[in-house]
Symmetry: C2
Subunit: 502 residues, 2 copies
């Protein structure tokens, strides 16, 4: 009896995975290859299969299996993987079951259209094109989470959706802690003046930049037999399955460094996805919806490793072979360039220090949207004011202001804090790694980066979403979330780089 | 009542199209991007959605709608598009209904695995790796068509599947007619000796070759807002919908001409797909399964236009800009190179004259497989013998012999004759075009190629599969299929090019 329900349940999960696979591919292709005149047909397909997938995840027969397997006599006989799967999926089932199918289907369509509208509005730097879509997405997102958790505050539900167990109280605490530590550091850095980066100016071949991406991906441990690359407006990573995790990039002729760090960032995400225990296939543990934990891995590679001189020592000659302009740039100049801390408008191009403030800005915007119900037409001004307050600069148009990120266009409110949570986890992971393996600089300089990747695989990646982020921090670092290790890392690094007292 | 069934039927067709869309994308991505370790998951998805799609096209409710709409009082009230759709889909429904679902599902899986095995076997030039797959595909294809048409001979059913209304009697007649006309021509050409093509030897940049493809596609009228390009082992065209028709190519450093003609060939297919009347969307007329007609369009661009000196006059300088080696090659030398008629082993690289014999070889092989039941392990030898008989040369390994084409790996037996039928249609279309618009050389030399593309759009493409190939020939040329116009075109062209008497 037990076995029978379990077998049926596994078959059902496998069937649901086929819809995930296809939807992931439909979106991937839409963002990387689908031509303008094929978009309408694509949206029809996305809408159709989203609805089918929703039906599967709210079907009565599915609910009955979940409830049956949750009964103590059945549940106790399950292995841990299945126990966690049943527990999480039952919670999701109950959440989704409260959403009317028609609402879900129309929400999906609204989000897909809004994403397309955002792309155009961003290109045109015209917020008015996007505003009606954003308004609709906000109100439907509120409705969506209200269906899921009618008794909870909307923004708290969103935070929990992207980082299980996270709440605004914790975020307020660590973001404040961070802000307080950052201000004196930024002041010192600003007083040190900016480096001369004119040696880097020029035009960089786009095809060669793609080869640099391949080189970097392979250097950090991306398995190209389990992934693929493509171009898109905004770099992203997509997981079709453990054996097929793909990254995109966006190249610019004038700025090769941006694409290099996007490659390392997305590569970090992909390495996480590629190294999940294959035994978790078709279970809840394969799906890592804890975005803070996921961002910690992309940002560990991008910042903690990628912005170190020692990271580049073994590959700087290769970079010069692929992009000959770098042959004339000494490694130290390059290092100053990739650690040029100064206020700037675009989050994805910001240095790792001011980046924190970009996220705090977005977190405050999201609270304004969800708690204060700030009207959509006031958001660009609010954005610009906050930018001036936090970073001392003001966008000249909305393309470099509120329109710069895609997240809100597809309803991903509550996602932004993950980036900064990820960075804070990274400070803690770095501490733990050095305690165990010694100086990261030594490991990198000696060309042993694969030992770091393996350490992350072993400590974090292979578990997929088995543990919550808080549990991972306890297991790996033995303590609770704190901003201090990240601040320590910043203070040490920049005191050395800019030559001021800590 | 009528309206009600019709509306339900249209909704049902729209739903079925979503499965076509997704399956097309799953295959496209498998051939262009999916990594090795993602193949297993992809096959699961293909198998799942193929089975779902099969269920939809054999569902009782679908059959009842088709039968209801076929009743005279309902049928007479339908427009012509819907009448044809109901008629064809009822025939397909009845054919498919006879196939057991389990068989269908296992046939799909066997074909997908066989395709992958073929790719590997081709790379290794090792027929033994592929033989067990081929054997399985042959026996299951026989079974498949026997289910569909139990009273018909298997190979006749296959020919009809790829070119409605076509039979081996007609093919025997025109292929014999052609063979008879080709032998004296080939003899004359051989006596004229081969041109000196050493000026073309060298290494050609792959990225530049991709730009040449873009240039050629745009020159012949491919709409890039309604399509996309990618790379694959074997060039192909894929139709997701009228607004999204994609082509692939395969590049080689030593031979830029092969990829150029693949680009023109696949571009011809794509232009057909992109120019079907949008009113046919979601109906049977959108789907052009008449492969002879489809190949006639790709081959018209590739051969009838692409291998003419006049085709290159307006763009030869551009070619030299993209691939500077061509600057040193006079246009006349280039023209001799792209019309270098001589026996060779690989079909896709063959000149347009000996190409005909490559197809005749495959047609004879297929008759041997389906009529004489020749055992699979005897096929490589039979291939090589026929190659020697028809073209006077013998492959040194199976990679350049029986393994060269993917068609048999996925069960597409009966497809090959389409290529040659397409060429024969082309001879007839050329005759009709020149009668109406004057010398094709003049039009091309004057840079008015878009007038030819428009003529094909107007006369052929927009109708999709509304008319059978035989009907198209009647409508456009006013006569029945004959090999004579193609022979006339060959005789005239090569007499001029090689300077011998016709």
């Amino acid at each position: 009896m037990n076995n029978n329900t379990l077998e049926q349940f596994k078959e059902y999960l496998h069937k649901m995975r086929q819809y995930d696979h296809v939807l992931t591919l439909l979106y991937w292709d839409l963002s990387t290859l689908a031509p303008e005149k094929g978009v309408e047909a694509r949206m029809n397909a996305i809408n159709y299969f989203s609805t089918e997938s929703f039906r599967l995840s709210t079907a009565d027969e599915y609910g009955e299996m979940l409830k049956e397997l949750s009964k103590p006599e059945q549940f106790d006989a399950l292995d841990e993987t299945m126990q966690l799967t049943v527990k999480r999926y039952l919670r999701d089932y109950e959440r989704f079951k409260r959403i009317p199918e028609e609402f879900y289907s129309s929400y999906t369509e609204v989000k897909t259209r809004s994403e397309r509208a955002w792309e155009k509005a961003k290109r045109a730097a015209d917020f008015s094109q996007f505003a009606p879509h954003l308004e609709k997405v906000i109100s439907m997102t509120k409705e969506y989470v209200h269906y899921m958790e009618p008794d909870e505050e909307a923004y708290e539900v969103l935070l929990d959706l992207y980082e299980e167990g996270m709440d605004s109280k914790t975020i307020d605490r660590v973001f404040d802690e961070l802000k307080e530590g950052l201000l004196p550091l930024l002041k010192k850095i600003e007083e040190s003046g900016r480096p001369d980066l004119s040696a880097l100016e020029g035009t960089y071949d786009m095809e060669a930049q793609k080869k640099v991406q391949d080189m970097l991906l392979s250097y950090i441990g991306f398995d190209k037999d389990a992934g693929a690359t493509a171009e898109s407006e905004h770099p992203f990573t997509t997981d079709l399955c453990i054996g097929d995790v793909r990254v995109t990039n966006h190249y610019s002729e004038k700025d090769p460094i941006s694409a290099m760090f996007s490659a390392i960032h997305e590569g970090g995400h992909a390495i996480f996805g590629q190294n999940i225990d294959p035994a978790y296939e078709d279970t809840a543990l394969e799906q890592v919806n804890m975005m803070g934990l996921h961002e910690s891995q992309s940002r560990f590679f991008e910042n903690i490793l990628g912005r170190r001189r020692s990271f580049w020592v073994p590959i700087y000659d290769k970079l010069g072979e692929l992009l000959p302009q770098f042959r004339k740039v000494p490694l130290d100049t390059f290092c100053r360039a990739i650690n040029d801390v100064h206020p700037s408008l675009i989050r994805t191009e910001a240095d790792e220090v001011t980046y924190c403030l970009h996220i705090i800005l977005r977190y405050e915007m999201e609270k304004a949207i969800f708690r204060d119900n700030t009207p959509v037409d006031e958001l660009p001004q609010l954005w610009n004011d906050k930018m001036e307050e936090l970073l001392g600069i003001r966008p000249e148009n909305d393309g470099e202001g509120i329109l710069q990120d895609m997240h809100w266009s597809d309803g991903s409110f509550g996602y932004f804090p993950s980036y900064l949570l990820g960075s804070m986890y990274d400070g803690m992971f770095l501490e733990a790694l050095e305690k165990e393996k010694g100086s990261v600089d030594t490991i990198l300089e000696e060309g042993r980066i694969s030992e770091i990747t393996s350490w992350l695989n072993e400590k974090i990646h292979r578990y997929g979403s088995r543990y919550t982020s808080a549990e991972v921090l306890q297991r790996v670092c033995g303590k609770e979330l704190s901003a201090q290790p990240l601040l320590d890392y910043f203070n040490q690094k920049y005191a050395k780089l800019y030559g001021f007292q800590k």
